[in-house]
């Protein structure tokens, strides 16, 4: 029964939860290595790093943020379709708090000047962020109440806010696309401290989620509820509170993603911010190795999943796939990736391990 050291490592690696998301990412990067010269070049400008790889993690950060929250929701056996709409709501709240004057029909000249003044904000930035996040958390709480306490199916319950949310976002901004001129706000999505600032935000939110789920019993309870909620109930786990927490945290993540996205384009656009991103977030979670049926989850896997999606997009652009064909090609790549997850391929990987052992 002695095993050689290398086969032991292989088995450990291939059975790890992160094996498949990392393999998927590696596969796409391998494709780039062969077909796109200079894809891996990283330049330094003013001490900051730039390049395609950096673009992947930077552009992928919105979906990564959504995916962190979505992971917990999916792990409880649910899904949150409203995250895109919640992003729009958070962005609208932030925009209004920075510059409510854009909504006014007529303004005295001294206020008129302020509208596109990059140093002006009505409320200090920390209040802007806190209030926007508070509103997003309330949205998540609403979803959680519907799912856990009113017992509406998650897909239906979150569909309500998905549809109504953009309407609410438009009400907040009076139906106007608001340009954001306040310069410090732009740093959230566009800032750079050696690496893109949004990457630090992802790391921060990941850290919160990780501590919340792995340093307390919450992670275990989420998984338990997702696998068998009746057994969990019999064991004294308050399944409703766990679900409420997951949806609320998902709302919080969507709020942050909304801030990052609006800062990126310096606009609060109730129609387009986060449009269809809920689907990318779900896909990221699935690529990350968390099952849609709930249970065991991997936060890091979901973040890598978000990067995989972004890597596909950037690689397609890099090899010259036109923008209109992108969605279709992306679909094909996603199918290939999901095939990689099938039991057959997993079995194949196990057999390789077994052969190495022999």
């Amino acid at each position: 029964m002695r095993q050689s050291r290398s086969s032991f490592t292989w088995r450990k690696v291939s059975e790890s939860k992160l094996f498949f998301p990392v393999a998927a990412l590696a596969l796409i990067l391998l494709f780039d290595l062969i077909l796109v010269p200079g894809f891996f070049t990283i330049q330094t400008r003013e001490g900051n790093l730039y390049g395609s790889l950096i673009d992947i993690v930077r552009n992928g950060s919105t979906v990564a943020l959504l995916a962190i929250g979505m992971t917990l929701v999916i792990a409880t056996g649910g899904v949150d379709l409203s995250v895109g709409a919640v992003m729009a709501i958070a962005a609208s709240v932030a925009a209004i708090l920075m510059n409510p004057y854009v909504l006014a029909k007529e303004l005295p000249p001294h206020l008129m000047k302020l509208i596109n003044d990059p140093t002006f904000t009505w409320q200090p930035l920390w209040i802007v962020i806190l209030v926007a996040l508070f509103v997003a958390i309330v949205c998540g709480l609403w979803n959680g109440l519907l799912v856990a306490y009113v017992r509406i199916q998650p897909m239906v319950a979150t569909l309500i806010l998905m549809t109504a949310g953009r309407g609410i976002a438009q009400l907040i901004t009076n139906g106007v696309r608001i340009q954001i001129f306040y310069e410090p706000y732009a740093f959230i999505g566009q800032g750079w401290i050696v690496l893109p600032f949004s990457l630090y935000i992802v790391a921060f939110v990941y850290a919160i989620a990780w501590i919340l789920t792995r340093k307390t019993a919450i992670g275990l309870f989420i998984e338990s509820v997702g696998i068998n909620f009746r057994s969990s109930f019999f064991s004294g786990i308050e399944e409703k509170k766990i679900k409420l927490l997951a949806y609320t945290f998902c709302g919080f993540c969507a709020g942050i993603a909304g801030l990052v996205a609006s800062s990126n384009i310096k606009t609060s656009d109730a129609f387009n911010i986060g449009l269809t991103l809920e689907l990318d977030a779900i896909l990221a979670v699935v690529i990350g190795g968390t099952l849609m049926s709930g249970g065991r989850f991997s936060l890091l896997g979901s973040i890598i999943g978000a990067w995989v999606i972004q890597a596909i997009t950037i690689s397609m652009y890099a090899v010259g796939v036109p923008a209109f064909a992108l969605q279709a090609i992306k679909g094909v790549v996603v199918i290939l990736l999901i095939l990689l997850y099938s039991e057959q391929v997993r079995g194949f990987v196990r057999r390789i391990g077994a052969q190495k052992e022999a």
Binding site: A217, F221, I227, F234, S235, G236, R296
Partner: protein, 505 residues
């Protein structure tokens, strides 16, 4: 091959799972027109052997021949094509479809391309009548008792193409005596029609009642195949567990000793306690250091009382006092913090969390009572898990094994460990020995008695009268969702059975 009577021959079957050698060089042969029992303790390899035969798992080594021809069984569907039909321990039907749909799903009679419902229902009814069951097949399966569901599963198995080999995996574990008899009638009838039946069970009585041959497995190896008539009961049990059965004697000794220590102090007092439509109001008292047995047929309200006491449902009449204090909040969590534990009847649905590891399953209730933030440190978790793995003799390669990889009896022990870890004062055990082997049964019964000896109170529910009699100091009899009577001290099986069945009939 040499013997033309053999319909199935399995030779030198090996099968390993991560960390477990589930089968090693097992031989098995099955004749036409016989009922062949496979017995063994938990983890003996019974289920795995069946899974290999039904194409669910592929053997690592060994040969299977059917009708003298070697076959490689590729999948459950392939097995069905070969004439092998299986009814698994856990019923794998859809409770929200009708009985007829469940029996004929995938093979619905059609007319002009659409399902011919009338013909389908009529046909399903006929199939069930062959098993002497007469019910409305247009009702959903879930609205019938587990016993009827089991029959529907058998009917479905028989309906699948030309079944010549029928495998019944623990078919009687949810059935009462009358239903079991009914099932045996069906089995004998099928046998006389030439069907080869593999019968897996933990009930030794039933093995002797119905089988022709017995194959004994232990720890994944074949102990032997015997003619039922030629092997005495005690010898069979000794072969199954590989040791002599002195434990039962030991147990009555423990019970005798512990009964002397029962104090007057009532841990639990319930007055007029009930829930409309579930259980009629009843009075109940539970003392420190005693085992209170619940006897009653399936559906008599045993489980309902247990779940009501634990707070799964909220009572709508009466009051409950725990250690003198009046209980106001009814929920599992509140019960756990009051020192009440419930080991539920339905292991798969309400017991284990199958993807979690043994360790996580064991600490689950304890952690739930500590709340979200007082998370047990990993080291403590392993300590607790390993302590109970040792104490209860749980057969698992490690505490990190997903609990779904364990055999049924070991899963049951994991759930028991989960509740023992919360250090309960009152332990409610609903069918704790259902579907587990003789050795483990004795272990669990012994454990119950030793807990009582420590001054805890146990409420012990079981369908096996003998077991209730052996372990309980006092027995409450339930019938038709009502408390009928209570026996203190010695009572014989006959009297008990009479009060369970009701005097009039």
């Amino acid at each position: 091959m040499s013997d033309s009577d053999h319909i199935v021959e399995m030779q030198g079957i090996d099968k390993a799972f991560p960390g477990v050698q589930a089968l090693s060089r097992v031989d098995f042969s099955l004749n036409r027109g016989e009922i062949h029992a496979i017995v063994g303790e938990n983890g003996a390899g019974k289920s795995t052997l069946i899974k290999v035969l039904t194409g669910v798992e592929k053997q690592d080594a060994g040969m299977i021949t059917i009708d003298g021809r070697e076959v490689a069984i590729k999948s459950p569907i392939h097995a069905q094509k070969l004439g092998i039909s299986t009814v698994y321990q856990e019923i794998n039907l859809c409770p929200n479809l009708t009985v007829a749909e469940n029996i004929l799903i995938g093979r619905e009679p059609r007319r002009l391309g659409s399902v011919n419902w009338k013909a389908m229902n009529a046909y399903a009814k006929e199939v069930l009548q062959r098993l002497d069951i007469d019910i409305d097949v247009t009702q959903t399966l879930g609205s019938y008792s587990v016993a009827i569901q089991q029959m529907a599963a058998i009917a479905r198995a028989l309906e699948i193409s030309s079944a010549r080999i029928l495998i019944l995996d623990e078919p009687t574990s949810s059935l009462d005596t009358r239903e079991t008899e009914q099932l045996f009638g069906v089995m004998r009838k099928l046998k006389s029609e030439g069907m080869a039946i593999i019968f897996i069970t933990h009930f030794i009585d039933q093995v002797y009642e119905v089988s022709d041959h017995i194959t004994v497995l232990r720890n994944g190896s074949l102990v032997g195949t015997y003619e039922t008539a030629s092997i005495p009961r005690l010898e069979l049990i000794a072969r199954m567990i590989g040791r002599q059965l002195t434990e039962f004697d030991e147990m009555s000794q423990i019970k005798l000793e512990s009964s002397r220590q029962i104090r007057g102090e009532a841990l639990l007092e319930a007055k007029g306690f009930g829930l409309t439509g579930s259980i009629e109001p009843l009075d109940l008292e539970l003392h420190a250091g005693e085992v209170l047995g619940f006897a009653g047929l399936l559906g008599s309200g045993r489980t309902e009382v247990a779940q009501l006491l634990f707070g799964i449902e909220k009572p709508d009449s009466g009051l409950v006092k725990l250690a003198g204090g009046l209980v106001k909040r009814f929920s599992p969590l509140a019960s756990i913090s009051r020192g009440v534990a419930l080991c539920p009847e339905d292991r798969k649905e309400a017991g284990i969390v199958d993807d979690l590891t043994v360790r996580e399953n064991i600490i689950l209730a304890l952690q739930a009572s500590r709340g979200w933030f007082k998370y047990l440190r990993m080291q403590q978790q392993y300590e607790i898990a390993n302590r109970y793995i040792e104490l209860l003799n749980i057969a698992t390669p490690s505490a990190d094994q997903p609990v779904k990889n364990l055999s049924g009896g070991n899963q049951q022990k994991v759930i028991l460990a989960r509740w023992l870890a919360t250090n309960p004062q009152i332990l409610i055990l609903d069918e704790p020995t259902k579907g587990i082997d003789v050795g483990a049964k004795a272990e669990i019964q012994k454990l119950v008695l030793s807990l009582a000896e420590e001054g805890k109170a146990c409420l012990f529910i079981s369908s096996e009268l003998e077991e209730v009699l052996r372990t309980s100091h006092r027995i409450v009899v339930l019938r038709d969702r009502e408390k009928v009577t209570e026996f203190t001290g010695e009572v014989d099986e006959h009297t008990l059975m009479q009060s369970m069945a009701g005097g009039g009939s």
